[in-house]
């Protein structure tokens, strides 16, 4: 398939490698051109502009961080909307707000292009192994066009609906529950510590009973080890994510009291200097609120 890819961060590079491995004709573009070197060596062509990455393409994938970057590459002069052929698909694979996805879907529709949102579940190493989860939504024919690409990228596609924002909200809701799990674990650890229990024991009880899941095993361990300096996802990025979630909830009129409680913990963690630490540092913040640290 003739595919364009914009955004060659760690995730983008991993996706590019998977698609090249399956024999796709791939053109890539990244604002910082050096980042394309590895992918070009593996067989891709580097474009010098977004328009170049869209020319003749059946599908153009974006894997960029944040709404502003997505808005720019899509809507600016010489952006995807101006450059993509009618009938071609913009496959948006980053994690973005519902409002942003809706706005882009409308813009592409006006230009008689198709839009699919397909945020991914998993880290870059899972992407490199073709083991991502993919939450896809958009018009049926457009999603069908993307299926061969999904097949080489992921282990599982979750079809969320016919409107691109269906995928965006599903991904955000999953992140939401992860945040709430971190908040709840933090509270549990503080409570048992105050009663003289070693956090490791509580960790074992949780992860060997009701919570034998990656969310609890991975983040519970970081909390027990207090290894907040090894950063997977920063507190500042987590706040950004939660703000997207809360904005979607505002729009839909859905009160999220657990989310509010967690967002406040994130704010306090940042206020105490933890913005660039791993967001599991909410456990330390909860401990501080309990008079432990």
């Amino acid at each position: 398939m003739k595919v364009g890819l914009i955004g060659l961060g760690r995730m983008g590079q991993a996706l590019a490698a998977r698609m090249l491995g399956d024999g796709n004709d791939l053109v890539v573009y990244n604002r910082t051109a050096e980042k394309t070197a590895e992918t070009v060596k593996a067989g891709a062509t580097a474009a010098t502009s977004i328009a170049g990455a869209c020319k003749d393409r059946e599908v153009v994938i974006t894997m960029v961080t944040g709404d502003p970057a997505l808005q720019e590459v899509t809507l600016k002069a010489g952006g995807i909307r101006e450059s993509l052929e009618p009938g071609a698909v913009h496959l948006c694979m980053g994690t973005h707000s519902v409002a942003q996805i809706k706005a882009l879907a409308a813009a592409h529709a006006e230009a008689r292009q198709l839009m699919v949102a397909a945020p991914v579940l998993g880290r870059p190493d899972a992407a490199a192994a073709g083991q991502l989860g993919i939450v896809a939504a958009g018009p049926e024919s457009a999603v069908a066009m993307c299926e061969p690409l999904f097949k080489v990228m992921g282990r599982r596609v979750f079809h969320a609906g016919l409107q691109p924002e269906h995928a965006a909200i599903t991904k955000l809701a999953n992140n939401f529950m992860l945040g709430c799990a971190l908040g709840a674990m933090s509270e549990g650890f503080s409570l048992v510590r105050k009663f003289g229990v070693a956090p490791q024991v509580f960790y074992e009880v949780m992860t060997e009973s009701l919570f034998a899941a990656p969310a609890y095993k991975v983040y519970g361990k970081i909390m027990v080890d207090e290894s907040f300096d090894k950063v997977g996802f920063t507190t500042l990025l987590a706040l950004k994510d939660f703000n997207l979630i809360m904005a979607a909830a505002d729009e839909a009129r859905v009160p999220l009291p657990s989310g509010n409680a967690f967002r406040d913990r994130l704010l306090s963690a940042i206020a105490h200097g933890g913005g660039d630490k791993d967001w599991a540092i909410v456990a330390r913040e909860q401990a501080r609120a309990s008079g432990i640290e």
């Binding site: 909200i169 009663f195 024991v201 009701l210 919570f211 989310g259």
Partner: protein, 294 residues
């Protein structure tokens, strides 16, 4: 070992049968005589009162649903502290509050006996097959003496420390995390529903990703998606009872629990809407109601 067992409800019955299978000298008692009927014709002796059960026992296990019940059994006239021999052990296995555990500990210590708290993890089917998790807490020597009993009722032992209240704190904290997980799932489902997404999709995303293998999510999430909260595993009233114990422990230890507070408020809303006897998964209904969905 001479063992007594008080509280032959769904959990207690299975645990007592496991103890019996270890060829211990077992005496059983329940305030409702019918509950002991299953032990008629077995090697167990059916006692006529707490005092009758306790008089010659080395260890007495209590598995009762309420703090008030274990207080009656242990502290009342003719109760365990008055009836157990010196040096005997009271193994408190229900999910009891920290204050209650402290009161029992004081009374048994004064009588020359030892209290250990050994709350359990798992449902009645696991109790019957000896597959529970146990969380023993208390003086080391007493814990060591009860080790053979742990082996009969559990597949996994989590040693919580030398103070009985530590066991209680762990069990309560685990339940607190569960309450928060149920509340968060309810919020997540109502959010995607408002955008027109089938809740089943979010369920699949959760349980095949970050929350795979987590019984809390796989189980309660399924009940929420299927709206089958009429089939009651753990009712909202029990959630409320535990939530009170958790809040009391947190107040005693001065630990703010904002997520757990949210859970408590949703429980109250559910009860206010007449859903007290539904499964706790019905918090999804309450959350949806708050979001204008039902």
């Amino acid at each position: 070992m001479k063992v007594g067992f008080i509280g032959l409800g769904r959990m207690g019955k299975g645990m007592a049968q496991r103890i019996l299978s270890g060829n211990h000298d077992l005496a059983v008692y329940d305030v409702f005589p019918k509950a002991a009927e299953d032990f008629r014709g077995t090697a167990a002796r059916i006692a006529s009162s707490v005092a009758d059960l306790a008089k010659d026992r080395e260890v007495v296990i209590t598995m009762l649903a309420e703090d008030s019940a274990v207080r009656d059994v242990a502290l009342g006239a003719g109760g365990l502290s008055a009836s157990l021999p010196k040096d005997a052990i009271h193994m408190a296995s229900g999910t009891y509050g920290v204050e209650t555990i402290r009161a029992l500990e004081a009374a048994h210590t004064a009588a020359g006996q030892t209290l250990i708290a050994v709350p359990v993890l798992g449902r009645p089917d696991l109790a019957a097959s000896g597959q529970l998790g146990v969380i023993p807490a208390g003086p080391e020597e007493a814990i060591a003496r009860c080790e053979p009993l742990f082996q009969l009722i559990s597949k996994r032992i989590f040693y919580a420390g030398t103070k009985p209240e530590s066991g209680s704190a762990i069990k309560l904290a685990n339940n607190a995390v569960l309450g928060c997980a149920i509340t968060a799932m309810a919020e997540g489902f109502s959010l995607v529903r408002k955008f027109g997404v089938d809740p089943r999709v979010l369920y699949d995303v959760m349980t095949e990703g970050l929350f795979a293998g987590g019984v809390a999510y796989v189980g309660y999430g399924k009940t929420m998606v299927e709206r089958s909260w009429d089939k009651v595993g753990s009712p909202i009233t029990i959630g409320m009872k535990d939530a009170h114990l958790i809040a009391a422990a947190a107040a005693a230890a001065k630990v703010p629990l904002p997520s757990h507070d949210v859970y408590v408020q949703r429980l109250l809303g559910s009860i206010a809407h007449g859903d007290a006897d539904l499964d706790q998964a019905a918090l999804a209904k309450e959350q949806a109601r708050a979001a204008g969905l039902e």
